[in-house]
Amino acid sequence: MSQAIKQPRIVKIRENVLKKNDMLARELRKRFQENGVYVVNLVSSPGSGKTTLLTEVLTRLSNKYKTAALVGDLATENDAERLEKSGALVHQITTGTVCHLEAQMIEASLKQWNLAEIDFLFIENVGNLVCPSSYDLGENIRAVLFSTTEGEDKPEKYPTIVNSADVAIITKIDLADAVEFDKERFYESIYKSRPEMKIFEVSAKKDEGIDEWIDFLIKEKNLLGGQSIN
């Protein structure tokens, strides 16, 4: 039975549906800044090499900096186990059926750590090029990864996540020739949704471009006035 309505009214709201997440992300960003933590949110499809690259980056950064990683995965803890070898603090967020990380999951996971002791926090998002784009996690920088094996036009298929990112990283660049990766076409594909975006080319296996990426992060961190070690 449907109820009749007397005097129908319209109530204007104009409210961001993800306001709750965004407000919490803003609080997190403030906490990170106060504690001198530089936060990187890594997004990509499954299998693009996020964990391999991150293991390498954490291992190198851990010589001079205190590093931590939050790893989102649907089911397993395999990624966390791989990352722990780097010497970084690692915590796995198992999302179950949720295809992305939300600010509230980050907040809950931070409880076990003293933020003042951390210089760099890497958030490895769930492997997915759609859903993570809408969720601000309080990060300083969002990096979207594409591997050479995924094809040069992949960024065009996911304009929302490319547009939401600050930098792009091409992984497995050592395989570029083998898979006839058209680099120019890839850059063009990125620029379609994010003109002038900074793009790094790396290979974790062959040690290419990793130091350049790390130097960039250190420079960005220092620009923000976080606590410097030197």
């Binding site: 009214r9 109530v11 992305h100």
Partner: protein, 121 residues
């Protein structure tokens, strides 16, 4: 599919707003979804019915208004609406631009409803 999570947020805001505005019954929710918001209209519509179940707004209709991409071209000093979300280039002078004015929103715009008519006997 993150639309279900978005739908739960949507229902929560709608229920709160309806209460604050003394809307006893909500008939329609108007939502604005940008073409570059990452939200799929059909998936949100499907998710909304699930998220609204058992809440005071169960049975309300969700109307999704798609918002095209509007950019500002620094070269022409003008705003343009793009026919397609990408490439982000000015349709007049072909200048690339990352300045998005509209088209990324996920916004609950308005509620339609009112007080329930008491059945007269």
């Amino acid at each position: 599919m993150h639309e279900l999570s978005i739908a739960y947020n949507l229902v929560e805001i709608a229920v709160e707003t309806a209460e604050q505005n003394h809307l006893q019954k909500v008939d329609v929710l108007h939502v604005k979804i940008g073409v570059l918001s990452g939200v799929v209209k059909e998936a949100l519509e499907f998710s909304f019915d699930i998220a609204a179940q058992g809440t005071p707004i169960e049975g309300a209709k969700l109307v999704v208004h798609e918002v095209p991409l509007k950019i500002f071209c620094p070269n022409c000093q003008k705003m343009h609406v793009l026919k397609k979300p990408i490439p982000l280039v000015c349709p007049e002078c072909r200048q690339r631009t990352g300045e998005i004015v509209e088209g990324k929103e996920i916004e609950l715009y308005s509620l339609e409803g009112g007080d329930v008519l008491e059945p007269s006997d």
